[in-house]
């Protein structure tokens, strides 16, 4: 849903009055010379207005646009012509421009959200640039800009098909809009969680381009006017003479550099994709002989950039605006005043020498302001952008605890939350030194560190946490044997679980969140018995004997790891009857959770939201050693967990699966606690950058 306009009345009127005044009093030369002759004649030429127009002696530069432009501007122009002749047609065209400006404004507000969107809308609406372009110079570039921004808005809200169709439509309307598509492609392909949607966006984009562009390519007039427009050659207008024999095209070079940068960054979120697209459009504007209307493609990016920034952003934009206005008022065609003089001839024609001296000076200032703008955008939207600083290295989460304490349940829940495409998962079970049948197990238990290849486990976790793939064996609980090595790709979230996941000091230092799964001992026996017998198929007596045999090693090697954990989860039955029948599966709604947080870790905000949104029991108790113990009791649905997450950690939403699976009850609470801790890490990484 597009956000509401949030322009206050004064701003709305301040921006609307000059637009309406110019629309009524001024007829741009572009209207009289190009657009109006074509648009008023188009209905009489049937399905191929381009060929019809040319065959009647029309100028080929009159309307270098395709079907979508025609559909966007023809109806209002036609109605205007019916009501008021050529002046009415001009008014109709100007009102159509105004309409598409409102569409663009709504899309800007939608992308920016409440506060930033409102500020960006004000920047756009009060800027003299769109007023000059739309109503004095009379360009129609607001339309493809609106389609492009709507496409981005749909992308931001995971409306994949709509986004593809709108982005494709923008390209079909104006080929230059394709400059943003490579970055959208990198956005979708750079993050595993978005891969499934890349095809959908591509298909709809290609369909839109095919439907709105290809059939018309059969028209000779369309080929001449639209595809043959000299504007397509502008991409090669700036060259760099490196040696007398070696020449490089500057714009393609810059675009390739941008693409390479975006590719090296690897993981783009929406804001970074938007910023890369902004930089590409800015490069196109600065490094070609840009038509005056092209600044409209930049306006949404400029507006949202200024809305985020401070004083320096505004200074640069003002310099850019003044230079652009000065340059175009001097050298671009103007307009005829409806009841007054003809001001269509560029002012530069009246002052000898101005073209050779003043114009290059202003162009230099414009280029300098544009470069400053690019630097600002790069820093605020890419280099220092929190998602970028936070995601340069994967988040690593370590989960230790005894067998049957709920490690796998927690890791499964975390994988459900982040999406399996975004997680690399390592299990300590895969690093047992011997197969189940090996006689060594008579001498040591699995809980003994020497029974596990902890060195390789640590190396693999650290390698994944460093962003590199690993090959690891996988233990088959059915056969009790280690399988072949499998490829584990490095992803955004590394989940390392195991009996000794918090044993190695290097691992403890690297984990962003370290968790120890404790459990009420009776509950743990119940869960282990139920899982090992029912799920893994072990004989019950063997499981009971195993628990007894392991108890010494448990105290010696497993429980001490709780001291290394930032978060300790302890599940308890609310009542002993919850676990009195070993045949009955555990009802997780009958458990309560005790969370112990390391010194300095706060739980205030989650506690308030859980109490308020979910109506459950949350009590915090400071412990003598400085840690905080939080008792959480109550039933909550997965929808409630989702609602808490949205309010608690809005900055983490980009790291979650597109459709995260939230768990009900205490597993859902654990998801929230870890997400909250990761959000703190994210903020820390951002501030460190």
């Amino acid at each position: 849903m597009i956000g509401q306009f949030r322009l206050d009345k004064i701003a709305l009127v301040t921006g609307l009055v000059p637009r309406l005044v110019l629309a009524i009093l001024v007829i741009p030369q572009t209207h009289t010379q190009w657009f109006l002759p074509f648009l008023t004649a188009a209905p009489s030429h049937g399905f191929d207005p381009w060929t019809g127009f040319l065959s009647n002696g029309g100028q080929s530069a009159a309307f270098p646009y395709g079907f979508l432009f025609l559909a966007a501007f023809e109806p209002a122009t036609w109605i205007g012509a019916l009501l008021g002749g050529s002046y009415g047609a001009h008014i109709g065209l100007a009102l159509a421009v105004l309409f598409w400006e409102f569409v663009l404004l709504a899309a800007i507000v939608g992308i920016g959200g409440n506060q930033r969107g409102a500020a960006a809308a004000r920047v756009y609406w009060l800027s003299p640039l769109p007023i000059y372009v739309g109503y004095w110079h009379g360009q129609l570039d607001v339309f493809p800009a609106a389609l492009l921004v709507l496409g981005f808005f749909a992308l931001q809200h995971s409306k994949w098909k709509r986004s593809g169709a709108l982005l494709g439509g923008a390209v079909a309307a104006k080929l230059s809009m394709a400059i943003a598509l490579p970055f959208v492609g990198l956005y979708l392909l750079g993050r595993n969680r978005l891969h499934p949607y890349a095809l959908r966006v591509s298909l709809f984009a290609l369909s839109a381009i095919s439907v709105f562009l290809l059939p018309f390519a059969l028209s000779p007039g369309f080929r001449t006017m639209v595809l043959g427009t000299p504007e397509t050659q502008k991409i090669f207008s700036a060259t760099l003479q490196i040696t007398p024999e070696l020449t490089a095209y500057v714009l393609p070079l810059v675009l390739l550099a941008l693409f390479y940068w975006a590719w090296r960054v690897r993981r783009l979120d929406f804001e970074m994709t938007w910023t890369f697209s902004a930089l590409a459009v800015l490069a196109l504007f600065l490094l070609t002989t840009a038509s005056p209307g092209w600044v409209m493609w930049l306006m949404p990016f400029i507006a949202l950039h200024v809305a985020r920034g401070g004083f320096m952003h505004r200074i640069v934009i003002w310099v850019f605006t003044i230079a652009y206005m000065g340059l175009n008022l001097l050298q671009s065609t103007g307009a005829v005043l409806a009841f007054g003089p003809d001001l269509t001839v560029p002012f530069v024609e009246f002052v000898p020498g101005m073209r050779s001296r003043a114009v290059p000076i202003i162009e230099t200032i414009l280029l300098a302001a544009g470069i400053a703008l690019a630097v600002q955008m790069s820093f605020s939207g890419i280099v220092l952008w929190p998602f970028n600083t936070a995601s340069r290295k994967p988040f690593a989460i370590g989960v230790a605890g005894d067998s049957g304490a709920g490690k796998d349940t927690l890791v499964d829940a975390l994988q459900d939350m982040f999406g399996s495409a975004a997680t690399s998962r390592l299990s300590g079970d895969d690093y047992h030194l011997w197969d189940r049948q090996n006689p060594m197990w008579r001498a040591v238990t699995h809980l003994h560190p020497k029974a596990n290849d902890l060195e390789t486990f640590s190396r693999h976790v650290l390698t994944l946490a460093d962003g590199h793939d690993v090959y690891a064996r996988q233990y088959d609980h059915g056969s009790g044997r280690a399988g072949r090595e499998t490829h584990i790709p490095a992803r955004e979230i590394v989940l390392a679980s195991g009996l000794h996941a918090l044993w190695s000091p290097q691992l403890i230092a690297r984990y962003d969140v370290s968790v120890f799964m404790d459990m009420d001992e009776d509950l743990r026996r119940f869960v282990k018995l139920w899982r090992d017998v029912t799920v893994r198929g072990y004989p019950p007596q063997k499981v009971v004997d195993s628990i007894a045999r392991r108890s010494a090693d448990r105290r010696r090697f497993i429980l001490p790891q709780a001291r290394n954990a930032g978060v300790v989860f302890r599940l308890e039955p609310r009542h002993p009857s919850t676990i009195d029948d070993p045949q009955r599966p555990l009802n997780s709604a009958l458990l309560r959770l005790v969370v112990t947080l390391d010194q300095g870790m706060s739980f205030d905000e989650p506690a308030r939201l859980l109490i308020a949104l979910c109506g459950i029991y949350v009590v915090e108790t400071p412990l003598e050693d400085g840690r905080t113990e939080v008792l959480i009791d109550g039933e909550l649905t997965s929808e409630s967990v989702a609602a808490v997450a949205r309010r608690l950690v809005p900055g983490m939403m980009d790291f979650l699966a597109v459709e995260p699976k939230w768990h009900p009850d205490m597993t859902g609470i654990m998801q929230l606690v870890i997400l909250y801790e990761l959000d703190n890490v994210r903020r820390k990484r951002a501030s460190a950058a």
Binding site: R608, L609, I611, A612, L613, C614, G615, T637, E639, S640, A643, R646, R647
Partner: protein
């Protein structure tokens, strides 16, 4: 903002009574979200079409309100949903009623956002040492959850619900109890609310309050003489308060 009686605002208030629902946040948006969630769940649980659910709910609410009169329980969504299900032809379904109520409040609260500058205004009161009291209908449990969710418990000093006072506004007991909670007050009392009859007339008659009418959209001069000022944005109320500081 329209100041109907400028003389009423010559002095700073000594305390501020605030209505809650639809005065500090938009009730309609939240209620719509809650009803949508409840209707969706009713269709899943009871195969009740949304249009039938809406009709049964409207009838059930009217019936409950008529039967209970102006009491806190007359706003109880659980009662509404129980009667909705019964009116749809089912016997009482406690589990389904509870689920509908939970779905309603979860979606309702999920949509709650304070009006712009409302928190800043309450902070102004806190910094100026002026007690702010929420005087609201409905039951205390759900109102307290809403307050905590919006973080208002950190800026509001006291809360009075109709459940505690014994009757819905404009029952004077609610306003009298609000003042009694902090031992009474000397000086002007502001009452801010979205209902002329329940909030403003009630507060004026009960405690002689100066009344500020919160409206959506463009403020217009009200027909009622019980209104001293009309505003749409809390920024305007902040400005009014700041100008009083200057005069002081």
């Amino acid at each position: 903002m329209i100041i109907v009686h400028p003389e009423a605002f010559a002095r700073r208030p000594s305390c501020v009574l605030l209505d809650f629902d639809n005065t500090l946040y938009s009730y309609d948006i939240c209620n719509l979200a809650g009803m949508k969630a409840a209707a969706t769940l009713a269709q899943r649980l009871l195969n009740l079409a949304p249009v039938d659910f809406d009709q049964c709910f409207r009838d059930a609410r009217t019936e409950v309100k008529t039967r209970l009169g102006a009491t806190a329980a007359s706003h109880n969504r659980l009662l509404y949903f129980q009667r909705t299900i019964e009116r749809a032809g089912f016997t009482s379904q406690p589990a389904a009623s509870l689920q509908l109520e939970q779905a309603f409040w979860r979606a309702y609260m999920d949509a709650m956002e304070l009006y712009p500058d409302a928190m800043a205004f309450l902070n102004d009161m806190r910094i100026a040492g002026i007690p702010a009291v929420i005087v609201t209908d409905l039951t205390v449990q759900i109102q307290m959850r809403k307050l905590v969710l919006l973080g208002l418990d950190r800026v509001v000093d006291w809360i009075v619900t109709s459940e505690e006072a014994g009757g819905d506004k404009p029952d004077p007991r609610a306003f009298e109890l609000a003042l009694a909670k902090f031992g009474g007050v000397e000086g002007d009392i502001w009452c801010i609310g979205d209902s002329i009859e329940n909030d403003l007339v009630g507060a004026r008659q009960a405690v002689g309050a100066i009344t500020l009418y919160k409206v959506e959209g463009k403020p217009t001069r009200p027909a009622s003489d019980a209104v001293d000022a009309v505003f749409a944005n809390f920024a305007d109320v902040r400005q009014l308060f700041a100008s009083q500081n200057v005069r002081k």
